[in-house]
């Protein structure tokens, strides 16, 4: 067994040092009734590398891989080109196989990366401080609502109809046994700005409102100016929480910070991280300086060592549950360290110049495709302002259309019927995302296939 260094003579010699007759003697505390006396019969025995490779390779081969087909799926996870050097760096044993940097003297590599990551994220989101990452965008959003409650000592969150429905579901799950109140808007496929209920949100803010949660670009792709909403929140003593699920958009658009957000959360997968069928991803979380001690999640801070040299440590950990136990600010006690590293490396390769270029390219591709598809008879482009994702209204229910496109080798987007099961008003909607990875040939293939399916 290739991962086990002990040989049988090693084991016997060690048992002798311990003074145990055999290995069973070390398991004497286990009740007789629960002792397994042999390997579990329903499972196979150990296997060579090539056997494992064949078995997993066969499963992998059954999936339609994004890079091999015209691909336009988004909805909170985006296919971008990740430079080869990113993966090389995250596979360095010193990053990959390191533990959480609780011993800072021998973890400055990870710690400096986190400090740089926090700075990059804060600047990107237009905020003062960011944490060292969280599980993903959806759990980060839930943490933001809890944080707003701690800051405002109010319990009601107003959630825009434009927030990703899975994110809303997560929030609902985690508030079902608390006395938090969560009010969520009802989405509709209205022309021009689907999911945009800013006016209604502003009208709904009251003295019980802890925060208003909006997504930008929203789940339908629509982009909105949030500055008026921020003013309305602040006037009522509530916080504005902004969710960003496609952070590449921030290379082309005003940041949530510029529009007045108090907490910005996001899904950072787009930079440096692959699609991975949904995980691991990277929750981003940033806020204003004044709220930093209410912020959940791991934080890295600068300090000096005994020789006065600059160094980095995990800090403000008194907020965390291994110290605070039941009084902790959050249940979360890990970050997505390696995903944060990948984000940071990719962002370093891009730099501001590259990020802006990348964002422009995404937007231009999306505009081109939106205009082409919008000209197909019966298809309406519902989203008039967007970044790299937009919603189409089809003449028929979208869910079977998406499947028929897949049958033709085109992954053409997401039906709103999948995201909002049972909501008839949305079932002709199809969400289409376009990134720098799409080629003209991909556009042609998509247009032809959609033409054919709708014909």
């Amino acid at each position: 067994m290739r991962y086990l260094p002990l040989t049988q003579p090693d084991r016997e010699a060690m048992l002798a040092v311990i003074g145990a007759a055999d290995i069973d003697a070390l398991f004497i505390d286990v009740p007789q009734s629960a002792r397994l006396t042999a390997p579990i019969a329903a499972l196979p025995l150990h296997a060579p590398e090539q056997t494992v490779e064949r078995a997993l390779g066969a499963m992998a081969a059954k999936n339609m891989t994004a890079g091999t087909v015209p691909f336009f799926v988004g909805g909170g996870a985006y296919k971008h080109h990740v430079p080869a050097s990113v993966d090389h760096i995250i596979q360095r044993g010193e990053f990959l196989t390191a533990y959480t940097p609780y011993q800072p003297e021998i973890a400055q590599g990870t710690l400096q990366v986190l400090f740089e990551f926090q700075t990059q994220v804060a600047r990107l989101l237009g905020m003062d401080v960011a944490n060292a990452s969280m599980y993903d965008g959806s759990t980060a959003m839930t943490e933001a609502v809890f944080m707003a409650r701690r800051v405002t000592r109010r319990a009601k969150a107003l959630v825009s109809a434009g927030v990703h429905p899975h994110y809303v579901n997560v929030l609902k799950t985690l508030t079902q046994f608390t006395d938090d109140v969560v009010e969520v808007g009802e989405p509709a496929l209205q022309s021009g700005k689907p999911g945009d209920d800013i006016d209604a949100l502003m009208a709904g803010i009251d003295a019980e409102t802890s925060c208003v949660v909006v997504q930008n670009p929203n789940v339908f792709g629509h982009v909105a100016d949030l500055a008026p909403l921020a003013q309305a929140c602040h006037a009522a003593g509530a916080l504005l929480v902004v969710v960003v699920t496609e952070v590449v958009s921030l290379g082309a658009m005003m940041s949530p910070g510029e529009m007045g957000a108090d907490i910005v959360v996001g899904e950072g997968q787009s930079i440096g991280n692959g699609l991975n069928f949904g995980g691991p991803y990277l929750g981003l979380f940033a806020t204003r300086d004044k709220y930093v001690r209410q912020m959940p999640g791991r934080l890295c801070g600068e300090t000096v060592d005994a020789d006065g040299k600059r160094g980095f440590v995990l800090t403000l950990s008194t907020r965390e549950q291994h110290i605070r136990r039941e009084k902790a600010t959050s249940n979360i006690c890990t970050n997505s360290g390696l995903c944060a590293l990948a984000f940071s490396v990719h962002m370093t390769l891009l730099g501001e110049k590259g990020l802006r270029h990348l964002a422009s390219l995404n937007h231009a591709h999306a505009v081109q495709l939106a205009e082409r598809l919008g000209r197909i008879p019966g298809v309406e482009l519902v989203t008039t302002t967007f970044f790299n994702e937009f919603t189409l209204k089809l003449p028929v229910e979208a869910r079977p259309v998406v499947r028929k496109l897949a049958d033709r080798g085109v992954l053409g987007g997401i039906s709103l019927g999948r995201l909002y099961p049972g909501v008839a008003a949305l079932d002709r909607g199809m969400l289409v995302a376009v990134t720098e990875t799409a080629t003209d040939a991909d556009f042609d293939a998509f247009e032809d296939a959609l033409d054919e399916v709708l014909a």
Binding site: I89, A98, Q118, C333
Partner: protein
């Protein structure tokens, strides 16, 4: 050479990628185009590779040496797992692709779920939790949902002193009051105190087994029976499953829910602090409350059951809902399954045996020098617990000893945990350390202890040989500097 910060090296007009030219289009950003600078510095690819390669060399890692971190299970991370997780068929598929295009991915999740159920002897598993603490939350949400479903408004969760720190936080998060149950002199749960506290207000008991003293709770079956008789549930923290995998199925002990840290027992990398993955197994009593989504095998293949279908599903109609945006840590699932298939049923059993053997070897080899509070009670499981009592009078503590180990070339053990032992040092070697590696560690620990007792004053300022000396954590917390600000650091 010291490595400067990215912000001290890079420039906003420097770039390590090439991109296609941007087609000219009329923008549709609705007047929200960014005008202000973002101030994100970039580097060319050669500079980027060098920056991160240099930084990486300031880290300790499993690839460099043993991480004897009790309760953290830092074992070897096989490279086959990394290779498998990068197969485009797993790494380059989208969570919302039509299900017929991801049948292999669903099969992988279902296969891993089957392994986890068989290894734990439990009938159901929730795959989506993203880390151990997230798994605890999943388990406790299911318990609360089950109690709510039967209209049983219990209010208290009992947590033994020796529990992981995340347990109380999780219980509180589900709206429960937490009461501690003391440990007995043998480092186990005080069963009498526990049984005495059971009653109609107790929703659940959260037990860590093997516990954080590295000991198996011998009365686990009796505890589970008593909790069930009192109408409550037993949550078992599975962080230490590495000690018993293949030797004990937690389901046979009577528990109701347990998370499994794929990054501990099943070797997915810690990555400097994540991502983790914490699937949760459930007893029959809790199965129908498990979260969405889940994978179901049908006659036509595999189905990912999301919101709408769940309502129509007889076995999951009481699901407490969705915990994350998508389906969990697919990348970790691939790695964990590759590891399980590599070891097989026989190898996984050997894992537990070697992990326990290695820990007992360390305990036996050091207990004459180090204080070993529970060594007299019998063998330990996968980790050996010591305390700094033997340093009494020197003024030296566990912290000094830990920092001294850094200068010897080792990552320190877990310090000051579990809380039930003063000045605790928890050493977990795992099964992937060789006897030679253990002997090196034992030799260094003996040598440090002997030299500390002989000349205490020489040991108050370690480490001296690491990339940094002791860092001022107090200053860092008092006035936090959490981002780079130009000029502030000019030397």
């Amino acid at each position: 050479l010291e490595e400067p910060l990215l912000f001290e090296r890079g420039a906003v007009d420097r770039c390590g990628v090439d991109l296609d030219d941007v087609p000219v289009v009329q923008d549709r950003l609705g007047g929200l185009a960014r005008t202000a600078p973002i101030n994100l510095p970039g580097l060319s690819e050669p500079e980027t590779v060098r920056h991160y390669t240099r930084l990486s060399r300031q880290n300790y890692a499993i690839d460099l040496g043993i991480f004897p971190l009790g309760s953290c299970t830092m074992k070897h991370n096989p490279r086959l797992n990394e290779k498998m997780a990068r197969l485009p068929g797993f790494a380059d598929i989208h969570p919302l692709q039509p299900q017929p295009t991801v049948q292999g991915a669903l099969q992988l999740i279902d296969t891993l779920a089957t392994w986890l159920k068989l290894l734990t002897g439990m009938p159901e598993v929730a795959m989506s939790p993203k880390a151990g603490a997230h798994g605890e939350l999943c388990g406790m949400l299911a318990i609360r949902a089950a109690l709510e479903a039967r209209g049983d408004a219990r209010s208290v969760v009992l947590v033994p002193e020796s529990a992981h720190g995340t347990n109380p936080a999780t219980a509180a998060f589900c709206g429960y009051a937490v009461e501690n149950i003391p440990a007995n002199a043998r480092g186990r749960v005080d069963v009498e105190a526990l049984l005495a506290r059971l009653g109609p207000d107790v929703a659940a008991v959260m037990i860590t087994n093997p516990n954080t003293c590295g000991l198996f709770e011998p009365d686990m079956v009796a505890i589970c029976d008593a909790v069930h008789a009192a109408g409550g549930f037993v949550y078992c923290d599975g962080a230490n499953f590495n000690a018993i995998v293949g030797r004990v199925r937690p389901g046979d002990l009577g528990i109701d829910a347990m998370h499994i840290n794929l990054h501990k027992t099943f070797s997915t990398p810690h990555g400097g602090g994540g991502p983790g993955s914490g699937p949760v197994v459930f007893s029959a009593a809790l199965a129908q409350f498990a979260p969405l989504p889940f994978v179901r095998k049908t006659k036509d293949g595999f189905e990912l059951v999301e919101e709408a279908q769940a309502k129509a599903s007889s076995d999951h109609d009481h699901s407490f809902g969705r915990m994350v945006a998508f389906h969990g840590q697919m990348g970790m699932f691939v790695r964990a399954l590759a590891y399980m298939m590599s070891h097989g049923a026989d190898g996984l059993r050997q894992v537990a045996e070697d992990a326990v053997l290695n820990a007992n070897y360390i305990l036996a080899s050091l207990k004459d020098v180090y204080t070993a509070p529970f060594a007299a009670t019998g063998p330990c499981m996968h980790e050996a617990l010591f305390s700094d009592d033997f340093l009494e009078g020197t003024g030296l503590t566990t912290l000094d000893l830990a920092k001294a180990m850094i200068d010897e070339g080792f990552h320190p053990m877990t310090m000051y945990f579990p809380l039930v032992v003063h000045g605790a040092m928890l050493v977990e070697p795992t099964e992937t350390e060789s006897r030679a590696s253990l002997d090196q560690l034992i030799g260094a620990m003996r040598s440090i202890a002997e030299r500390m007792l002989a000349d205490p004053d020489a040991w108050r300022t370690s480490p001296h040989l690491a990339p940094r000396r002791r860092l001022d954590e107090t200053a860092a917390a008092r006035k936090p500097v959490l981002r780079y600000t130009p000029g502030r650091d000019a030397a």
